[in-house]
Every structure is written in C-alpha cells, then in structure tokens.
Amino acid sequence: MRVGLFIPCYIDQFYPQVGIATLELLEKLGCEVVYPPEQTCCGQPMANSGFEHLTKGCNDLFIKNFETFDYIVGPSGSCVLHIKEHIHDPAGDIPNKIYELVEFLTDVLKVEALDASFPYKVGLHQSCHGQRGLKLAQMTELMAPPFSKPQQLLNLVKGLELIELDRKDECCGFGGTFCVAEEAVSVKMGKDRVADHIHHGAEVITAADMSCLMHLEGILRRQQSKVRIKHIAEILNSQA
C-alpha cells in the first residue's frame, strides 16, 4: 500500500513534529509512505475567502503530486475536506482516495491496537471540518447514534484519560481568515473553548486539526496557561 503523505503548508512551516509523528505512525502500521517534496497548499485559505477562482495553481500541483498513490493521507480534517469537496480532478479519483489521518486509521487500516502511551488528562477538541464535514464523530445537533473515531483511537493509548466537556462540538473560532477578519468573535470563541477544557481538568488539548490547535495555543500561551496542545498524531505516536 503506497501512501502519499499530504502535509498542509502551515504544519510544514510551524509544526514539523506533527508531520514527523504522522509519518512514523503510518510506517509503524506497515504503510509505505512517500512525501512528495513539491507539495505546498490545498488552496483552502484562498477559496474560503471567496477566491476559489485563483486556486487553479494549487489544484493542479496537488493532482501532479498525488495522483499516482493508492491513498493520500493528511493530518488535517479541514485541508482534506477542502480537497475532497473542491478539487477539480476530471480524470482521477483523488476525492475517493484522500483520507484524514484518523479516518484512515479506523476505516482503512482498521487499527484495533496501538503501542502508545500518554499518561495525561486529555480534552478532545472536535474540529468542525473533520467532524461535520468528514463525519469523524457524531454531531450533537443530529438525533442519531453516537460514535467518535478520534475517541476510538485515543482509547487505545495507555494511561490517557479523556475528560468530558460541557460543549462537545462547539467551534473554536479559528475559521481561516475569520480569525483575523473577525478577531473579536474569533478570540472570544477560542477563550470559551479553552475555558471548557480547563474547567474539566485537561492537561493537554488535542484535535485532528492543527489550525484549531494553533489558535487555541495562541490563547493559552497569552494566558500563560500550563495546558499544552498536541495533535492527535503526536499522542497516537507517543511513548511518554
């Protein structure tokens, strides 16, 4: 199984450890993983700002980099969802073979055991695009049976204690350019999310999307909080 590793631009630039954890985890689980070095960005920052018509360059580059793989896996629900919904790939089947890391582990690799340990109280932030877009977990608005793919994986990690939240799937307020265009509301949403986790005793906040965590980290650090953020790939690959 040849997996093309899709590392979103801001993870490449700011959070290389998340890319490394993703790569190591997939290799541990027996995948042949290749990182196409010419990749940049999925085009979402432009598209969500109303400039989808400018994203042809990113679009074509993505196809060129990834069309030959059996699967494409990326540690970001948001970027994966963007490719799935908006890529113009007339010839290929990229939307069908691209997976966010968590769903790739639960649905394709069908992981039932992990050699990982992370002895901390962890709060799981349900990033909206992963949850409501890729359906990584049941949504509280729907009257339907509960399930959670990220939780399913976190339950396999030794020593990890998952905390409850008052609002299980409220948005953190990052929202791409929203975070600067609507700074006041974005920050308030982030502060409220952080408060919910802290109130329930989280030592670490995790998510399947680094962009939400980058926003929450910015707020935590400004508050000089001891609470840390960790991408779910780092926890699933952890030997703490």
Partner: protein
C-alpha cells in the same frame, strides 16, 4: 440603528465584545435555548425523517410555486379574502397604507412579522402619520427602545430584565427599579389590552399558507395575533410567497418541527387557522415577492427559500451568540440572514457571508435541511467575483496564490516560517497584527517538515 449601518459585522461584533460578561450572558442564554431544542428533538424518534420530509415538501413547493400561488389565491378569494400581490417592499407598504387610508384609520396593532421588518413597514407608516403598536411582548420592548429586533423569534433577547424594567418605567410608567418579569409582563398586558380594544385594523404575519384551502396559519405563544385579528374590523395578513405548503395535512410535519426547533416547545401555544372573514370583517392577504423570485432562479441559493423562520440556526451559531443580532445590520440576522440578505443587496450585505467560521452547525439544526454553511461559502465566491472584496485583500490573495502555486518559491520563501509569518492570512501584517493582539504567534521551528524529510528520509 441607522448609523450602525455604516459599520460591518466585524466592527459591530467588536463593539459587542467590549463587554465580555454581557457576551457570556448572551451566549449562555441562547445556548440554553439550543439545549432545549436538542431535548425536544430527541423526544421525537423520527426527528431526522421529519426534517427530510419537510425539506422535500418545500422542494416541491419551490419547484411548483406559481401553480400553488394561483391555487392559493383562488381558494382564498373563494373564501372571501382579498388577495394582493406586491412585487417589492415599496408595493407591500403602499398596499397596507391604502387599506388603512380607505378606512380612515391612523392606528394599528401588528403581531410578529419579520416580512414587515424586511420591508421597513413601521418606518414607512410612521412617516405617513400612522401609529403601529407591535403586540408581541418582545417586539413591543424593542419598539419602545427604538431598536429593531435582534432575533427573529426572541426579538429582545439582547436585553436584560433590568433594562426592560427601565424601558417600561420610562414609557409605561412602571415603578423605577422594578425588574420582576411577572410584574412587567402584567404591565405590558394592561398596556396592550387597551390597544387591542381600540384598534380597528390588525396586521399579522403568516407562518404557513395552505394552497389547497386558501387558509393561513399564524403561530404565536402569546395569542396576540388572535387578540388583534378577532377584535379588529380589518385583518391584514402579510406573507412572503415562499410561505406556502401544498396541503393542510403537511402542517403535521411543519408544526411538529417549528417550535421544537425554535424554543424546544412541542408546539406553539396558539397555532391559529384563518380561513374566511367573520361576518362584517374584512380580511386581506398581501403576497410579497421582494426578491424571492430572483432568488428562486439561483440554483445554488434557492433552497434558502425553504426557511420557516425558526431561528434554530441563530441559537446554535457560535458567532451569532457572541456577536448579537444587531451586528448583522439586517432584519433577519444569523446564518440564514447571511445567505438571504446578499440577495436583497449584494454591496450592503457583502460582509455577512464572511461572518462565519463555516462550522456547519446551522445546517445540522435546520428543520428543512438548508445547506446554510455551503451557501455561505458560495456567496463568498459570488461577492468576490462581483467585485465587492477590498482591493488589498485581492492583492494579498494573488500573492499568496503565486507563492503556493510554485513549490520552488514556496520552499525558498518559506524557510523556517519566514514568509509564512508575514503573509498567511492568520498572521498577515497590516499595521496592527490582529492575530497577535490577543493571541501569541506560533514559534517558528528550526526546520520545516520538508527540510527534515530531505535530511532524514531521502
């Protein structure tokens, strides 16, 4: 609030956020309504089937609208109701005014009607010397305060009871400092009763028009629509043309969804059917287009006309809860307002589709399954393509696109986050770095992932 129309959602939301405890209060109040909705919906085992059914019935209505409208007009006329057609807000207001003039009436009671807010009927009639008294308690509160409603179901949800006490003290003469809800409600009741008894014309909104029978249904919790209509000689009902349902039995779907979605009640206290005028009474229906038929022609956006105005999308929206209804500077605020308003005025409401994180919660609570967050995304594309984006933003997006389309440029520019730090949208420097004001920046690592990979894997 006309002065606030100059500011966009972000600026108005920033003002609202200057009082953080108030934002917390507003957020928690509406979240409580969302939770009531969840509990009410969970008690209906076929909830998701009901949503599907409602969505499909409305799909049928939108696809056959002209036929249903003619049927409705024919049946209503047969029932003795006078049917008027208004192409836009101006015609709507003039029709209402002409009925008032013909009866030489300069005072009127009006129950909840977001359509008349959309058409700015109160302001229009005020200029003509007509006094309109809103009889919904929440609407009366904001009317006395000189403000528009901030929420389509809970018009004065932004007011604390102490503030309502002050408004009533000033306008209705209640004792200063009395903010007891029961006392204030009683005072409003006495005040409104006098209006009901003395007004000869009553205007109501319409929740559902039934094509098959020519009747219309008005849902209220206070009975104020009924009180107005039954005591007046003339009943004027104003409805948007999309408010139709084909048959009376379809109310079995919509009435079960409407109030559970809105407030978590199983049904409104009053769901009143008006079919024909009582002897001696005059009954009018004003059917209003005001941009709806244009909207119907937009493939990507037409399904927003399915809206039954329950406001579930307001209550669940994390942005609405923390920015307040007035920040949307339009009659119908919240996520649904952000996809309806650009149809009315693209320039004035160009900001609204951007007042969202695209989290998608709105689409999930919508009882008629409008893909609200997807339409927000699509409106953004339309607004930019029609030239309503700021020039600076366009230039920044073009630069970003150029860098991100060229791997060589990206990797050179991107070394250890240098280019990113100053150019990606969340850190973009524009004099005042809006990311950094209340958040720390990510710390740039020693090497990027791609640099690490080149060293360690290749």
């Amino acid at each position: 609030m006309s002065s606030s129309h100059q500011k966009d959602h972000a600026a108005l939301a920033a003002e609202f956020n200057k009082d953080e405890p108030r934002v917390d209060w507003h957020d928690q109040t509406l979240w409580w309504v969302r939770q009531k909705r969840d509990k009410a919906a969970a008690r209906v085992p076929e909830w998701e089937l009901l949503r599907d059914t409602a969505s499909q019935i409305k799909e049928n209505v939108l696809s056959n609208l002209s036929g249903y409208l003619r049927q409705f007009e024919e049946e209503a006329t047969r029932n003795g109701i006078t049917v008027h057609w208004a192409a836009d807000a101006k015609e709507h207001n003039e029709i209402v005014f002409s009925i008032l003039s013909r009866h030489k009436v300069d005072k009127m009671v009006k129950s909840k009607s977001m359509l008349t807010e959309e058409c700015h009927l109160n302001e229009f009639l005020h200029e003509k010397g007509i006094e309109v008294v809103d009889t919904d308690l929440g609407e009366r509160v904001v009317q006395l305060a000189g403000e528009p409603p901030s929420h389509i179901v809970l018009p004065c949800i932004h007011k604390k009871k102490e503030e309502i006490g002050e408004i009533f003290h000033e306008h209705l003469g209640t004792p200063a400092g009395n903010a007891d809800p029961q006392f204030l409600t009683h005072a409003a009741r006495l005040h409104l009763r006098e209006k009901f008894l003395t007004r000869r014309i009553a205007l109501t909104g319409v929740n559902f028009g039934v094509a098959e029978t020519g009747e219309f249904v008005v849902c209220t919790n206070e009975g104020n629509a009924d009180m107005g209509a039954h005591l007046a000689d003339v009943h004027i009902a104003c409805m948007g043309i999309e408010k139709l349902i084909p048959q009376r039995r379809h109310l079995g779907v919509f009435l079960r969804l409407l109030t559970r979605s809105a407030t978590g009640q199983p049904i409104t206290t009053y769901s009143s059917h008006f079919r024909r005028p009582r002897p001696g009474q005059e009954m009018h229906i004003v059917l209003v287009d005001n941009g709806r038929s244009i909207h119907l022609g937009r493939k990507d956006f037409r399904s927003s006309l399915k809206c039954i105005r329950c406001a579930a999308c307001f209550n669940t929206c994390p942005v609405y809860r923390r920015s307040g209804g007035h920040s949307y500077h339009t009659a119908v605020a919240g996520p649904i307002g952000s996809i309806l308003s650009p149809n009315l005025d693209r320039k004035k409401y160009a900001d609204l589709p951007f007042a969202s994180t695209l989290c998608g919660s709105c689409s999930n609570v919508c009882p008629v399954k409008i893909d609200i967050h997807e339409q927000l995304y699509k409106w953004r594309q339309v607004i930019v393509q029609e030239g309503y984006a700021a020039a600076g933003k366009t230039a920044a997006m073009k630069t970003m696109n150029w860098v991100l389309s060229n791997p060589g440029v990206y990797h050179t520019a991107g070394k250890a986050g240098r280019w990113f730090m100053s150019n990606v949208p969340f850190t973009v420097k524009n004099g005042l770095n809006t990311w950094y004001r209340q958040r720390d920046m990510p710390e740039p690592p020693k090497e990027s992932f791609s640099e690490w990979y080149k060293k360690n894997k290749k």
